[in-house]
């Protein structure tokens, strides 16, 4: 059994040479059946399992992960958290997640290193400025903090920023969400896994779902996996870029396309950039990890792919923009780059909903911005699965909105061009 973390436990761990820590969650073998199955052991799926056990009393739950937990997009993103989306439905959804982030370390007894250091989104032309201010006003109306900074104020908030008027795309100001920031992505997966496992959830790695079973009424009756068939009347799919692959096993077609999205990190340096800086127009996207690496997010590739890598010119494009905004970064070497597969919807808003198949639920379509929503997405998928009905916060994020013409178009707020 895992012990509770505290100042004393860390001190004792140090005094005993860090050799007495136990495993943080049970390595479970698949049972014959469960009350609920979550497909996908990323932050969203582990979060859903945790909230099923914690808030809905459904503890006979399995999380099935084809690789290792947190090894997909949870471990591949740029760890940015914010909720400054345009529409009421979206800002409520993302702010729900931000509120959960604020107390998540205490909730899980696991330090997810949530750091509300501020997210600054730059404007470089008149259109940018108008869009940014429209977002600020919409956020204000929805009770979400977001404020306009002049170039000088942006420079004060982020000293390495180049606000010279000589730039090809000079900084005309920016929108700052102070509650936005970063968190430690691995710790989110591990913290949810540890807390869910302690409540009885089985976390089963190296277990790929290869089929969805349905009974004679068409209802979900279980899954087929690389480790055998497992029965369950309720299955929640939270498989990011592979969500449409899994849902097709039950004949459900989704408005999704999966693209590689790249990120890269520099060699570590001392603290140099105190916040997150993003620019839609020239596509800069940079923050600094607590290890000191600059964490840089690039665009999606032009074409759909499942390769978890992308083209070099996509990264170069982002680096050019970053180096123009931060001339001091030009001498830094990049250490690593990688790609994750993101499932993009036509309106850049997610789907957290029931599917046409009874007993089958889905959390997908987060596109380039799923990490920030991790606690909220898990919480709402658990709610929808447990009650067979959406929570008020995700009732608009259905699959049917595309058929019915009630899209929630967040293409401007999604920030990464795709």
């Amino acid at each position: 059994m895992t012990s509770r973390f505290s100042g004393w436990s860390l001190l004792l761990g140090g005094l005993s040479g860090q050799r007495r820590w136990s495993e943080q969650w049970r390595a479970a073998e698949p049972k014959r059946g469960y009350d609920a199955i979550i497909v996908g052991g990323g932050g969203h799926g582990l979060g859903a399992a945790y909230y099923l056990a914690k808030e809905h009393g459904i503890r006979n739950v399995a999380v099935l992960e084809k690789g290792w937990i947190g090894g997909g997009n949870t471990g591949r993103n740029t760890t940015i958290i914010r909720s400054n989306y345009l529409f009421a439905e979206s800002s409520a959804l993302y702010d729900h997640a931000v509120k959960l982030w604020e107390t998540l370390s205490q909730e899980l007894n696991y330090n997810v290193m949530y750091s509300p250091r501020g997210v600054l989104m730059l404007a470089h032309n008149v259109h940018d400025e108008q869009v940014a201010k429209r977002h600020i006003h919409a956020n204000y109306a929805n009770g979400v903090d977001n404020e306009w900074l002049t170039p000088q104020q942006a420079k004060e908030f982020c000293p390495p920023l180049n606000i010279s008027s000589e730039l090809r795309y000079p900084v005309l100001g920016g929108a700052l969400q102070r509650r936005g920031g970063t968190a430690r992505h691995d710790a989110v997966a591990w913290g949810y896994a540890r807390a869910a496992s302690a409540l009885g959830v089985d976390i089963i790695e190296n277990c790929e779902v290869t089929g969805l079973r349905r009974d004679s009424n068409g209802e979900i009756s279980g899954v087929e996996t690389t480790r055998g068939a497992i029965e369950s009347r309720r299955v929640g799919v939270s498989a990011a870029g592979h969500s449409s692959v899994v849902l097709q096993m039950a004949g459900v077609r989704l408005p999704l396309e999966s693209f590689p999205l790249q990120a890269l990190v520099s060699e570590p340096v001392k603290p140099i950039i105190p916040c997150v800086v993003m620019s839609n127009t020239i596509h800069a996207y940079v923050s600094q990890s607590d290890k000191g690496e600059l964490v840089i997010g690039a665009s999606t590739d032009a074409y759909t792919s499942y390769t978890q890598r992308g083209a070099l010119h996509v990264n170069l494009h982002t680096l050019e923009a970053v180096c123009e905004l931060f001339p001091a970064f030009r001498r830094l070497r990049m250490l690593r780059n990688w790609g994750g597969i993101v499932d993009v919807t036509p309106d850049r808003s997610p789907i957290i909903a029931k599917t046409p198949v009874p007993g089958l639920y889905v959390n997908c379509g987060w596109g380039t911005g799923g990490f920030k929503a991790t606690p909220g997405a898990g919480h709402l998928l658990a709610w929808t699965l447990a009650r067979d009905a959406p929570h008020a916060l995700n009732s608009a994020f259905t699959i049917e909105r595309f058929r019915d013409g009630t899209l929630i178009d967040e293409a401007a707020a999604a920030a990464v061009n795709h």
Partner: protein, 87 residues
């Protein structure tokens, strides 16, 4: 970066092309009296195939013509390309 075999100009770097999405998605005809679900399927639903994917590309910085490519989305290997209207 992909090297894309334009059926008109030969192999050229990806930067010369723009991506046109899944190929052979047929627009419903008025005669078929399409329902909202039919329009949804045409407009938004995609196969999103993990494997061999038929897709449109346009050689926008070349001959400017549309054509089709078969690409394996698990490796990005391009199997072949063919002109619009061909199979």
């Amino acid at each position: 970066m992909l090297v894309i075999p334009c059926p008109y100009c030969g192999p050229r770097p990806e930067l010369e092309f723009s991506y046109g999405g899944q190929a052979h998605v047929a627009r419903p005809t008025a005669a078929s009296n399409p329902s909202p679900a039919d329009w949804n399927a045409f407009q938004y639903e995609r196969a999103n195939i993990k494997g061999l994917h038929a897709e449109r590309w346009r050689h926008i910085h070349g001959c400017a013509r549309f054509f089709n490519v078969i690409r394996d989305t698990t490796t990005d290997e391009i199997v072949r390309s063919y002109r619009s209207g061909e199979k």
